[in-house]
Symmetry: C2
Subunit: 399 residues, 2 copies
């Protein structure tokens, strides 16, 4: 019988349908509130926190990632959160409902910080982002990050730059205060959104190889170096089709795909995970923000010769009511003309275009092909020349 070991959430959400009983009806023994303390790849057993030692034929490691937290005084205070999984979200929701605090502080400025800033403003919290750097979402071009900053400002989110966090203390105007290198910030609620690191302890302890990224090494069938031991999701690596290297990119859709591939392989079928191109997106109030592939720095480190262009155009036919601008940045290799990366930002049409460019990256298309792609043109949806065509032509002129 297959086992599932870990947390199972019982709450008002739709996960109720997936309680241990339901799993058991499908022939899956679910041990809740149980930890896998140790696994033995030679004897093929797992030792659990309830004392049991259970045998396995296939061991699937899906230990996920751990949210990063700075080791500062007061980090354990009530009211300090990270957001990595559903229990985190539920704890946050309960806390905010019970405490009725007004002041929220987010430490970090990546896409979780951006999404949470919007969520907190939507429930009426005064929201402050405290960031070590100068601009949000540094994965994107500065031109786009500046527009995100404006969007935050338009929605009354304060953005405090170039601050190191030193401590969390009891507050006066609010229940807590965050001490920074540039003064203190009152807070009833503090969210650390500083990224994650793969949770590989169980795997590493049993001798599973860890890759350069710090995540578990797997092959295209999700197998590790130890026979019968597999890994999927945020704890493992994934093949990046543009850099041709193995990376750790903790995103839910990748975990989903890896799980399905592995399930088919363990279940007696055959499947191969073709990898990713690093497609990602988030919504920031009225903005869509998305990217895929490599930026210039990453391209250089792979040995490519990147050139780039940013082009702004109309997200739909320019003469249509409600038309908005969308900005597209393309990065290509000047030696081969191949697309290496893309970024987009706008009130509409940014994500759909990055999806298109993700497919172009997947298929290793070059800029000349992209400049003449056949798209389903009609004025309510795009111009006869889409901004993608125009951006590709602009970049082609540089090559």
């Amino acid at each position: 019988m297959p086992y599932y070991i870990g947390d199972v959430i019982k709450d008002e959400s739709r996960l109720v349908a997936r309680t241990p009983e339901k799993f058991r009806q499908s022939g899956i023994d679910v041990k809740i509130n149980t930890r896998a303390l140790e696994a033995d790849g030679v004897n093929k057993t797992v030792r659990l926190s309830d004392g049991a030692v259970i045998p396995y034929d296939f061991l699937v490691i899906g230990t996920g990632a751990l949210a990063s937290l700075p080791m500062i005084p007061g980090i354990e205070s009530d009211g300090v959160f990270t957001l990595k999984n559903l229990p985190d979200a539920l704890r946050m929701k309960t806390y905010l409902k019970e405490r009725q605090g007004r002041k929220a502080v987010i430490v970090g400025a990546g896409f979780i910080a951006m999404e949470m800033a919007e969520a907190l403003r939507n429930i009426g919290m005064e929201t402050v982002i405290v960031h070590r750097g100068a601009l949000p979402a540094s994965r994107w071009d500065r031109e786009f990050s500046k527009l995100m900053l404006e969007e935050l400002s338009r929605n009354n989110v304060s953005f405090l730059t170039n601050r190191e966090i030193t401590a969390i203390e009891k507050g006066e105007n609010a229940s807590l205060r965050l001490i920074t290198s540039e003064g203190e910030v009152p807070a009833d609620f503090i969210l650390f959104a500083l990224g994650t690191r793969p949770n590989v302890k169980l795997a590493a302890d049993m001798g599973v190889k860890i890759g350069k990224s710090g995540a578990i090494q797997v092959n295209f069938s999700q197998a590790t170096n130890i026979g019968g031991v597999y890994a999927v999701g945020d704890c493992c690596e994934v093949f990046h089709r543009v850099s041709k290297g193995w990376v750790n990119l903790p995103l839910g859709d990748i975990a989903n795909k890896q799980g399905r591939i592995l399930g088919r392989n363990i279940g007696g079928g055959k499947a191969f995970f073709p990898g990713i191109v690093g497609a990602q997106s988030f919504k920031l109030f009225n903005l869509e923000v998305a990217a895929a592939g490599l930026d210039e720095r990453e391209s250089l480190s792979c040995g490519y010769h990147p050139v780039s262009a940013i082009v702004w155009g109309s997200a739909i036919g320019a003469s249509m009511p409600g038309a908005k601008k969308v900005g597209i940045k393309l990065v290509a290799d000047s030696a081969t003309g191949k697309l290496l990366g893309a970024q987009a930002l706008g009130e509409m049409g940014a994500v759909s275009r990055i999806n298109l460019l993700s497919l172009a990256l997947w298929a290793e298309m070059d800029i000349d092909d992209i400049a003449y792609l056949d798209l389903a043109y009609a004025p309510p949806f795009s111009g006869a020349w889409d901004v993608i065509h125009i951006a590709a032509q602009a970049l082609a002129r540089q090559i």
Copy 2:
């Protein structure tokens, strides 16, 4: 000096900037209200309707297409229109403004008919579509066409099926009446939207080869069989990357691309038109409708072995407010797994997905690749498994 021969519209629109004077400032001699009656590929001359015979080094034929009209009594009546070009649209607009008619009839049920039904309802006209067949937009699957019919009905557009048109006469309740095989329909305004045929007379008369499609044969640089003679746009053929054949597909974005390719070649540069995949879309009130590639019938006639699946899913994350369903039909070759065609319909997300699948067709991707494509997932924009992934997996199970 390059010549442009044909109609130039002088009106309130933004085309004012492109009057003959403006063109002349750019070194282009524009002869308005002048027809090219005859061209001579041996002596390299064109005889014009003003009597002049002008020489050329490069002759570009961009004669477009002619809207199809049935040869029935009364077809020349005032109030009968086709919609092929901007002058047609301006004539229609003036007529509707001056006559204040209430009853509009559209003959035909393709995408021009659909777009015009919406436009006419938007200015408050009572609108009736008269169609030879039973469902609109027969390029799409019957399941989708039925939903278009419901959308027409929801927006008070009558749809009269299985009627042949026999005559147009002076009317009683309205200025005209359309006589059909199943009774008559009163009309102040009649639009024939029965498709187009390429306008190839000038080309054919000078010995330019006409393809099986009835349009001018060109190569990938837009050259015809006669040296120095080129063709672009609705009058010529285009390479279809899925059927691997040359077709005539009179769409504005294709004409634009061909014009640009030819301009580069004539101007001393080098360019190659890579062809199309038949991507197209239209808006019908609240619906997005789009398609690309081949349907089953076309696939069979190419020698493919088509299988298909229609899948409905959420256009954005299913838990997001405002989420709507989108339907995707995929057609693939059961011998190779290659995608052959795609159709989509929904209140949101249909066109963006067809654009993605157009790129998949372009790159000759197979269903297994599409099932695991890396897209920029975030709940405001899609599910972790997009409906495209789900449709590809559903189809893969049939192969």
